[in-house]
């Protein structure tokens, strides 16, 4: 088990290396550079060249890449050309917001999706089944930013049940420890700060959960239907076990394998794809920042972000594989 984890983590090295080469070439082939973003149309060729020299962009690409690698090894992602701050500092401040949002969305998606998918399978062909299958189709089809706007208009602006923007009410004056606001509140026992941060997560969390929820409902339903027809479920029934035991021990556990895979993939997608939701709710996560960086040609931020997402993806999928070996002894790793 331990060796398996180490091996998987070592696989990260070639992955990141290949990715960085690809990104470096690709980013530097883009027309227009940070100097265009900074100076706009006003710049003269001289000022542009000065800025490029300043940022080290006038050097040969190999030299630039070597410098990038040297910094990477020290976990230094360079300085943002947009904000003039260290990229790592920016990420430490902003990434926790997106992680909180993703965790919130996945808790909603898994917590509602698995029971709903299970019930739909058990009541196959009846109202609940049709409703959840149809509903999940709608969930997949509605663009997330549109849903985010609708939720914000109804529940924040009209009804006033939830805050309409931000991660926390600044007037609370919460103490910052990890930049995970909910976690900070719990750690410093500032319960009202934690509750307020949680409250801010609800609407963007619901909006972001819509697609993973729909996918999880469908996968769970299909998987449960398949397992219900398995011979071992009939054996469990033949033993006279209670419905509860049959359901939990024999049906659900076997039906969870494809769902676990999907949860892993969805989590990765949300971490990198929360941009629109964050924008709608003025939620200071990483998504909105990175979107801004693209138009700014802020290479260090983009490189750093994509590298971090790659690491997160590998870690999440490692977790999925480990959960597999907990669920299914046949794929147990040694």
């Amino acid at each position: 088990m331990f060796r398996f984890i180490i091996r998987r983590l070592l696989q990260l090295i070639p992955t990141l290396f290949g990715l960085s080469v690809l990104l470096f070439i690709w980013l530097h082939r883009l027309p227009g550079g940070p100097e265009t973003a900074i100076l706009g149309e006003r710049g003269t060729p001289e000022t542009r060249a000065a800025i490029r020299r300043n940022l080290g962009l006038d050097e040969p690409i190999l030299v630039q890449y070597a410098r990038f690698l040297r910094r990477m090894i020290r976990l230094d992602l360079g300085t943002s050309t947009g904000t003039k701050r260290a990229v790592t500092t920016e990420f430490v401040e902003r990434f926790p917001g997106t992680v909180e949002l993703t965790v919130m969305a996945m808790i909603l998606a898994v917590g509602i999706g698995i029971p709903l998918g299970y019930l739909a399978a058990r009541r196959r062909g009846r109202f609940l089944d049709h409703a959840s299958v149809g509903g999940s189709l709608i969930g997949i089809c509605i663009p997330v930013f549109f849903l985010a706007y609708v939720l914000k208009a109804i529940f924040a602006e009209n009804l006033g049940w939830f805050p309409s923007s931000g991660r926390q009410d600044p007037t609370i004056g919460a103490t910052r420890v990890t930049n995970f606001f909910v976690l900070d509140g719990l750690m410093t026992r500032e319960w009202d700060a934690a509750a307020d941060a949680l409250w801010h997560l609800v609407l963007p969390g619901v909006a972001l959960a819509s697609i993973p929820l729909a996918i999880i409902v469908r996968i769970t339903r299909a998987s449960v239907l398949e397992v219900l027809n398995e011979d071992f479920v009939r054996t469990a029934e033949a033993k006279g076990l209670t419905e509860r035991t049959v359901r939990r021990r024999h049906v659900l556990r076997n039906a969870m394998l494809p769902v676990a895979t999907s949860i892993g993939l969805q989590t990765g997608l949300l971490l990198s794809g929360a941009v629109l939701t964050e924008t709608v709710f003025a939620f200071s996560g990483i998504g909105a920042f990175v979107a801004e960086s693209i138009s700014q040609r802020d290479y260090p931020v983009l490189m750093g972000f994509i590298m971090i997402i790659a690491v997160v993806y590998v870690l999440v999928n490692l977790l999925v594989d480990l959960s597999y070996s907990v669920i299914d002894p046949r794929v147990r790793v040694r």
Partner: protein, 371 residues
């Protein structure tokens, strides 16, 4: 009264826009404590559906209808609600299935799959349950049971898996055991071991055993009374020796004739039954076997054949049965019953003092079999 009396059991699957399928069409048979009864027939004759219907294990689906009675020790299993049925299943009536690998949960250790029955019906927990489970595995011939309890189904061989399934089935000393093709998925040598094990269990505990199989070899080695099924009905009921020595229904004769024999001549061909189970006539239109039957006469078609009870307490459902040498049909037939009566409704070994099992029938004489 026998331990299990199945009376006029029928199972139909109705689908919108499709013809209703009569998977089981009025099956009756009975099983006594300590008795081994066989249900024999080709795939699709309704033998598995019969057993699943008795257990209440047919997959719930719209259009499924189960009729008739399956009285176990005075209780009609078909009338029970879900809860009482779960109480009986695994405790009084247990079942062994065909494919041991797919019948075991792949992600749960064997031990839990045994102890969960003990916990459910005998209230055993913890170390007591584990000890009992190890005992059970030992009893069904699994070596090193303590270690096996911690293993998963994929780590066991096919024979071991079937033994483990049998251990789960007999965990609560059920009074009735239904074995649905328990050896079909196994190697021949393992088959013999499993059959031996089942025989021992029946002999030691007095459990009644319903053996469902298409394999006449299994029947010959295990069963005292045999019901031959065709297209959802029992077409012949007899005890072992008479059935093998002198089959009366042409289908039974066909089944026996299609078994390869060592004493046959070298050039002799096998005699398969022509056609397939799909070539059936619906029972109301005549004998379902008529399209494949070599003894077909005009009377076979038109109305379903009556049930014939013979002088030696066998019964068959045929208008032109295989004749017995030296016996006229009149001397042979004791009684006939309309199609509503079923072969098994007349117990093959009824006591002379028994009241008539079917109105209009006298009690059947004792079976004169010298084992």
């Amino acid at each position: 009264m026998a331990l299990l009396e199945v009376d006029d059991l029928s199972v139909t699957f109705a689908r919108r826009g499709q013809r209703t399928v009569h998977a089981v069409d009025g099956v009756s048979f009975s099983v006594d404590a300590g008795e081994v009864v066989g249900l024999v027939g080709e795939s699709g004759c309704g033998k598995s559906v019969t057993s699943l219907a008795i257990m209440g294990l047919l997959p719930k689906q719209p259009g499924l209808r189960v009729g008739g009675k399956a009285v176990f020790d005075g209780t009609d299993l078909l009338q029970l609600d879900d809860r009482s049925r779960r109480d009986i299943r695994g405790r009084d009536v247990a079942m062994i299935f065909q494919d041991p690998l797919s019948s075991l949960n792949p992600v749960i250790p064997i031990g839990l799959q045994v102890t969960e029955v003990l916990a459910r019906h005998r209230g055993m927990r913890g170390e007591a349950a584990t000890r009992e489970a190890a005992d059970l595995l030992d009893r069904v011939g699994i070596p090193d049971p303590r270690r096996r309890l911690k293993e998963y189904p994929h780590q066991l061989s096919g024979g071991m898996r079937q033994r483990a399934l049998i251990a789960m089935a007999v965990a609560c000393q059920p009074r009735l055991l239904i074995a649905d093709e328990p050896t079909t998925a196994l190697d021949v040598t393992i088959q013999a071991q499993i059959l031996e094990l089942l025989k021992d269990l029946v002999r030691d505990s007095g459990t009644a055993l319903v053996m469902i199989t298409h394999d006449l070899g299994v029947v010959a080695g295990m069963c005292e009374t045999i019901n031959v099924l065709y297209a959802g009905r029992v077409v012949e009921t007899a005890t072992r020796r008479p059935l093998f020595r002198q089959p009366r229904h042409p289908y039974t004769e066909g089944l026996l004739g299609s078994v390869p024999r060592l004493d046959a001549g070298r050039g002799e061909r096998l005699n398969p039954i022509p056609g397939s189970v799909r070539d059936v006539l619906p029972w109301p239109d005549g004998c379902a076997f008529a399209p494949r039957c070599t003894r077909r006469v005009d009377a076979c078609v038109g109305e379903p054949p009556e049930l014939v009870l013979t002088h030696d307490a066998r019964s068959y459902r045929c208008v032109n049965p295989v004749p017995v040498p030296g016996l006229t049909p009149e001397a042979d037939t004791r009684a006939t019953a309309p199609t509503t009566a079923e072969p098994g409704a007349v117990p093959a070994q009824a006591e002379p003092a028994d009241p008539p099992a079917v109105p209009g029938f006298g009690p059947a004489p004792r079976e004169e079999e010298t084992p």
